[in-house]
């Protein structure tokens, strides 16, 4: 694929970003990457849509959690808003598998045949769940499993989504609502907050009214409804859906003048982003971060039901501040999203700046902090909810350590490579848990 096409796809994404920011989801830029300021919720939603990721969006009621992702999905996937609304799952305890995934064809059922009528939620590539924390755990698990694997089963039938991404909204995990338990929340790639835009932008939102009307198309919405309800094989149906999507894309270009992405465009973007390599600092820093979040000198690894001993040598590291062990989904999420960000910024390699920008959002929901650590940060001035704020602080702390020790860490990893290849060398020693982890990988028994 030539760089000309690269840049045109990139431009299209930027156009979508700017269009949504200027017209649909008015909000302040709150994060800076490589000197450019972005609104984190919008940027990360775009990345989620491109990466086939799973995003959890939190925020106060009425601050655009759901509408922002609806706009993003509409323009990235070429679906009119009405179709998207029809596929959303609302989070409440009475949700059933039949409403979420599919139901039997009652007529056929009465004559003894099991034919599944799939829900729009399971058919469409974009899956939006509103207030996922209000769903019982079994339903949360069912949705996350389905999106993880891309296939949905009901009775004895199954469909396999070719592409998919999940956006789930939730109110703050606080009084009166279910929490999303740790094994489930870990499946989300990222967590962001949809913030209040401030009084001036809020006034504009009120004055201009609902601008999302531009993303409607009644005629196409009816056609979508018809196609999705037809009893056709899944692949055939989705081809027809794609044709309608393209028609919607043309309508968007003619009307509001926004370019959107076709399925092939998204596939191209994904394959391009997958080719972008990680640079060595990204590689080493990520290893360092994982080490700090999983290491326990005394117990072998962090475990959420086992506590730290007092006066441990590694008190200054994050392993002493957290209760649980970071999961392997974390490096998958951060790697995937960092590549998408690097692609979006037109960079040749994925570097530390991409990593630093996104890491807090991939970590915030995955870390269980110790009480005393939470107490230290609770009353600090901040712009983010506590989880994200503490994750940002943690990333900054680890980054400072990396800036100091980066060359030595890379040397340690280089020496480890040679040792593993059979060279007679001594592993490089250091204070940070990464050095201990390297020695464990080399088969050394590391004792107190």
């Amino acid at each position: 694929m030539n760089s000309g096409e690269n840049s045109s796809l990139r431009e299209t994404i930027w156009e979508i970003y700017n269009y949504i920011q200027e017209n649909l989801y008015l909000n302040r830029p709150d994060t800076e990457i490589k000197g450019i300021r972005f609104n984190s919720a919008l940027l990360i939603s775009l990345l989620t849509g491109l990466c086939q990721g799973k995003q959890l969006i939190i925020g106060e009621p009425g601050l655009g959690k759901t509408t922002s992702v609806e706009y993003v999905c509409s323009l990235l996937y070429r679906f009119p808003l009405g179709t998207i609304w029809g596929s959303e799952v609302a989070g409440h305890p009475e949700q059933t598998e039949e409403k979420i995934i599919g139901r039997p064809d009652l007529g056929k059922l009465n004559i003894g045949e099991e034919v599944v009528i799939w829900s729009h939620f399971s058919l469409l590539p974009i899956k939006i769940v509103d207030e996922i924390n209000r769903l019982p755990e079994t339903k949360q698990s069912m949705i996350l499993d389905g999106v993880d694997r891309g296939n949905w089963e009901y009775l004895n039938d199954a469909i396999i989504n070719r592409e998919y991404c999940l956006f789930a909204t939730a109110n703050y995990q606080d009084r009166g609502t279910n929490t999303i338990i740790a094994p489930l929340i870990d499946r989300f790639d990222v967590m962001v907050e949809s913030k209040h835009p401030g009084p001036n932008l809020a006034y504009l939102i009120g004055a201009e009214g609902a601008n999302g009307i531009k993303l409607h198309n009644e005629e196409l919405e009816e056609e979508f409804q018809r196609i999705l309800s037809e009893r056709l094989p899944y692949s055939v149906r989705m081809e027809r859906v794609e044709e309608l999507c393209n028609r919607f894309g043309d309508a968007m270009e003619r009307g509001p003048g926004i370019k959107t992405l076709s399925r092939d465009d998204r596939k191209t973007i994904r394959s391009q982003k997958d080719e972008i390599p990680f640079d060595l600092d990204f590689n080493a820093f990520l290893r360092l971060a994982i080490s700090e979040l999983s290491f326990c000198h005394r117990l072998g690894q962090k475990r959420s039901y086992e506590g730290c001993e007092e006066g441990c040598h590694f008190t200054g590291y994050l392993c002493n501040a957290v209760r649980n062990c970071i999961s392997n989904r974390f490096p998958i999420s951060i790697g995937n999203f960092s590549k998408a960000l690097a692609w979006l910024l037109g960079d040749e390699k994925v570097d530390l700046e991409h990593l630093k920008a996104l890491m807090p959002f991939t970590l915030a929901h995955r870390i269980q902090w110790k009480e005393e650590v939470v107490a230290q940060h609770e009353k600090e001035p901040r712009d983010d909810p506590l989880d994200i704020h503490m994750a940002k602080d943690a990333v900054m702390e680890m980054h400072r350590r990396y800036m100091e020790q980066g060359p030595q860490v890379k040397s340690a990893l280089a020496v480890a490579y040679r040792i593993m290849e059979g060279e007679d060398m001594e592993p490089i020693q250091g204070d940070h848990p990464i050095y201990w982890d390297i020695r464990k990988d080399l088969g050394e028994e590391v004792k107190q």
Binding site: E94, L155, E371, A375, K379, E404
Partner: protein, 519 residues
């Protein structure tokens, strides 16, 4: 030339940033400054003197000069002193040796420069050595540059100073764990140079690379640094001394910092307040969440698939499409609802603290009794409750201080820190006057050598408050108190063998009171 310099800075900074692995620093700018001093750092904002750069451009490429300056500035952020707490610790060690504020500050500045620059030179390809070659030098700078020549192995054009550079070259500057010991030896070795600078009136003149005032730290960093210093020092006197040395700089940056940090208009008692305040911050408990409790009624909550053999009464016919068959039929699962519990807020707290002669004077030595009381106050204040303080010694002759319910942290700590040093007698009427309809919790910290113990026992036998009595040591009065309170569920008595255990016991009780769900 000016436009060129602007352009050069714009090109150089991204490279320097990349070389140092993207530090979180704002883009540097040109600022006011003289030809002698190249850098100024305020709140992490690097300001470069244009005059300086123009001057040095006569002898070296401006690009390299800028790179060198930026490398130096970034190294201070990245490596040494890293944060305000480290800066203070280094200063403290230097002061122990030099016993003079200005000299200690200067020695700390020099040490920080050596560490930061050496770290940069050892890890990166930097034009710093070339920059140093062309800088103007006083006697101190000459000695330092002679040291750099020796430890970097580069010629900076300095002659002489063999002895001092030999002495200083053996210090492990790059070993952070030995910085405390290193700065002491460093200060000792350069003492004579500092005396010379003092005689010439150059002691507070900044070096060519700028000074290291506390302006470079944010208020949060200063607060955190003071917190670490409080737990690091051996006594409040030492804390006070260091605070006094830096007080002007700490207060200069932010007009509101006085309130924020509890520093007052120069009274030494305010330093005591700050000391215990910061120390207590090391024992923080998280804010209490409003507890939920089960409502006692069952409500249909979600569906589960019906299985053959399961009862029929909870089948939902609507979601089952009117069918009773496995895989289709759904039944309701019922759950108990959750509602807010009746305890809507945190009760207030009365802290009763003994400041008689047998207790430690909190202004001279670390008083764990005051610290424990401070932890209790902090915990209740953070949970939006109010605290009243009753500080007593010989109450009947007026040696008592009462602070009625307040959220004013400074006043609470001021009352806690007051020391009478006299006899030990409580006035129950004063405590009774603090009782309210909403029964407060009571924390009593004493060594129990109370003259009117019987009256106190009688009083606590009659109250409904949750009382936690923490006492130091064991004596006859303690036995009497224990046996009298044995049947009282609401009174807990805890003996501490080591005073260091007081805060832990207090916090343990608070956790039990405030953080356990009501059944």
């Amino acid at each position: 030339m000016m436009r060129d310099l602007d352009h050069i800075l714009k090109t150089v900074w991204p490279e320097v940033r990349r070389r140092h692995l993207f530090p979180e620093l704002p883009t540097p700018e040109y600022g006011e400054g003289d030809q002698r001093v190249g850098l100024d750092i305020k709140g992490k904002k690097i300001s470069i003197s244009k005059q300086f750069v123009e001057g040095i451009s006569e002898v070296m490429e401006p690009q390299k000069a800028l790179e060198g300056l930026l490398d130096h500035a970034v190294s201070h952020y990245l490596y040494c002193p890293w944060d305000f707490s480290t800066h203070l610790k280094l200063y403290r060690e230097a002061k122990k040796v030099l016993k003079d504020t200005q000299m200690a500050k200067r020695a700390t500045d020099c040490f920080i420069d050596v560490v930061a620059d050496t770290s940069c030179v050892s890890q990166k390809d930097t034009p710093l050595p070339e920059l140093y070659k062309h800088l103007q030098r006083g006697s101190m700078e000459e000695a330092m540059h002679a040291l750099y020549q020796k430890i970097w192995g580069m010629d900076l054009g300095v002659e002489g100073h063999h002895e001092i550079s030999r002495k200083l070259s053996r210090l492990p500057y790059l070993d952070r764990s030995r910085w405390k010991e290193s700065i002491r030896r460093f200060a000792r070795a350069i003492h004579y140079l500092l005396e010379e600078e003092e005689r010439e009136g150059n002691l507070d003149k900044p070096s060519s690379m700028g000074n290291h005032s506390l302006d470079q730290y944010s208020l949060q960093e200063i607060e955190k640094g003071l917190q670490e210093l409080a737990s690091d020092v051996n006594s409040p006197t030492e804390f006070k001394e260091i605070l006094q040395d830096f007080k002007d700089e700490i207060l200069k940056g932010d007009m509101n910092s006085e309130q924020a940090m509890g520093l007052g208009p120069g009274r030494s008692s305010d330093a005591n307040i700050l000391y215990y305040m910061k120390l207590a911050e090391n024992y923080l408990l998280p804010i209490r969440r409003t507890p939920m409790e089960k409502s006692g009624s069952l409500y249909p909550h979600h569906h589960v698939p019906w299985e053959v053999g399961s009862p029929y009464h909870d089948i939902d016919p609507w979601t089952s499409f009117g069918k009773i068959m496995p895989g289709i039929t759904q039944t309701w699962q019922r759950h108990e609802g959750s509602v807010f519990s009746h305890e809507e807020g945190t009760p207030n707290c009365i802290v009763i603290i003994d400041s008689s002669g047998s207790m430690t004077d909190p202004t001279r030595h670390l008083s764990h009794a005051v610290l424990g009381a401070a932890c209790a106050c902090d915990a209740y204040l953070r949970n939006d409750a109010q605290v009243a303080v009753y500080n007593f010694s010989d109450a009947y002759i007026g040696a008592q201080r009462i602070l009625t319910y307040s959220r004013n942290r400074r006043e609470i700590y001021r009352t806690l820190c007051h020391y009478f040093g006299g006899g030990t007698q409580l006035q129950m009427e004063s405590i009774e006057a603090l009782q309210t309809d909403r029964v407060p919790d009571i924390f009593l910290i004493t060594d129990m050598q109370i003259t009117n113990l019987e009256i106190m026992i009688e009083y606590f036998n009659s109250v409904k408050n949750r009382v936690t009595a923490v006492h130091i040591g064991n004596n006859k009065q303690v036995q009497t108190f224990r046996s009298s309170m044995a049947l009282r569920d609401n009174v807990g008595i805890y003996a501490v063998g080591k005073k260091e255990d007081i805060p832990r016991i207090v916090l343990g009780k608070i956790k039990e009171y405030l953080y356990t769900l009501t059944p």
